[in-house]
Amino acid sequence: MNVLRRSRRREPEPLRPVVFRWDLDKTYLKSAFDSLRGLVRIPFEKPQDKITVPGVVPLIRGLRNVANQRGREVRIYFISASPPQIAKAIKEKLALDGIEYDGIVFKNQLQHLVRGKFRNLREHVGYKLTELLKSRREMPVGSQEVLFGDDWESDPIIYSLYADILAGRVGAAALDGILGTIGVDPLLITTAKALAAEVSPAEVVRKIYINIERRTPPTSFRSFGARLVPSFNYFQTAVCLFDDGQLTLPAVVEVATGLINDASYTPNRLANSLADVVRRGHLQEPSAIAVREYLAARGLLPPRRRDGVRPSLWDRLVRWLRTQPNPPPPSEVAINYETLVTEWRAAR
């Protein structure tokens, strides 16, 4: 009961609409575009052959259910850099998974091919940013957004840029320079600048979750600030969303159960993931305790064990007098996009 009470206390403004935006490849689907063979196979894959990233389906379902239970308006969108030719298979896959969504966009690669803009085939920043900004115009007034991507291409840059444009921290002039450095098509830069100019500044993006699919070291994301949470699996994402008030503990249980039943996770692996996200400062200790107690009671996390440390009487007294401090949360930083783009690209 205690645990549930604690989780209820953290709920932020329950009636403010929320938008969850998902990248598709490597975030929702385990697309194998890193190999030529995988890339060639994608267009011919049947919906039932497409594999989702472990834990993503119960997580998306949980986000919608929790919002609905609270009477909160919720929208879920997908954005993909894949061509519309595979849209049918993708939509069927989402239906098979029981995912209700409000919109999905694909990149018209054929158009770029016909116009001879081969560079645009691989460059997604301009495309995704303009699509996000266009879509934002249709969102409910005052709605908040939570964004989900991966570390394969430029999702951290695109999402951070989108968040800062909406917040009014990146203006049209700055955007021109940043997108120019990235090598975005001049036509798309003009569109993005026009869309950015329409924005009424507000803090819209609560969090950006980046699925570390490529095993990028966590320090590589430090320059993106505390808003961006790099997570190694969807259990880590789920517990952070619980901490942020977007999920309840029963919804976290659904994600954990999905990982154990469908992806051979063990309670030990989940416990290690939980400890890791706490150590990295993305989850506060009270939330971690709540998750630990709730999931351990359901056999999804191992019971607490002896730690092998034998504190002296003095150590115990000191610990009793002074509760363990939380790790410092990652600092909120003003992003220097020019430097960040260069560094991020160099590391790819």
Partner: protein
Amino acid sequence: MPTIAIDAMGGDLAPDEVVKGVAQVSLDTDIQCVLVGDEAQVQAILDGLAYNPEQISIQHTAESIGMAEDPKTAVRHKRNASILVAARLVADGQAEALVTAGNTGAAVLACAQHFKLIRGVRKAALASVYPRQTEYPGQDQLALLLDVGATIRCDATDLVQFALMGNAYARRISKVPSPRVALINMGSEESKGGEVLTHAYRQLKTIGGVNFIGNIEGNDLAKGKADVIVCEGLLGNVVLKLLEGLAEVVADLAGTAARENWRWKLGLMMLASGFGRLRDMTDYAAYGGAPILGFEHLLIKSHGRSNARAITNAIKVAAKAVRDGVTREIAAAIEQL
């Protein structure tokens, strides 16, 4: 998937290289690793690496034992030193084996304090592996020498037990089906070396399942005559240090020669690829570490200067020993004695 406790703070290059080694293990294998050490320091290193957090846990402890510290004093005063906490985790069943590149004396004492000896085993033995010539196809490039310092003096039964322990370890880890086991002595004849060695010789000759080839002399150590070489701790330690010292002297001499005479330098340069191959063969990082045998749990002691690769290999060796039931095999062999 075995769980291995790793002393994150032990070794000349700890914790950086130890954590790097563990991060690599988490990406390459299904081994669960418990890093024991300063949590903030360990996490700060992990943050800069590619790793799989699902396979790594950190057990925080602020204390550690330095390489130059007196093991007895340090173990007595630093109750929560990383090596001791790691040993406790293994003793409590939270990990199945321990890897450390830290202070050897402290590692032996940590085992003695927290691990039980296998039923029937009278003394534990610290083993070491060293490169040597090979004599037959499929023979391991490395020979196992034990004991190299856990004991000082031993009687015949101790030596026989060491032979059985070394035999089991070599069979499982080196995958040599029937390792050649020998005693170091001052002559190859059965009657040489005094009462202890003569008695041990006679006992080993009669034990089934051990390919005992008799005594070998010091000049046979570098040849491939035996795969498991047994001796008491005092002698083993002298032999080990002599081998290490000789290698250093040879390297020094070559360096001096190259500096003093351009023809020698040219000659050495022509032999460079051969030296490179020799270096690869004798690279301690490739074998990871050597075990302390005789306890119910296994400790793999890595070289004090272990880099990430050595730590990775030591963890893999420990996991392999757990999977293959090395301690069970030793217990079975001792029971038959």
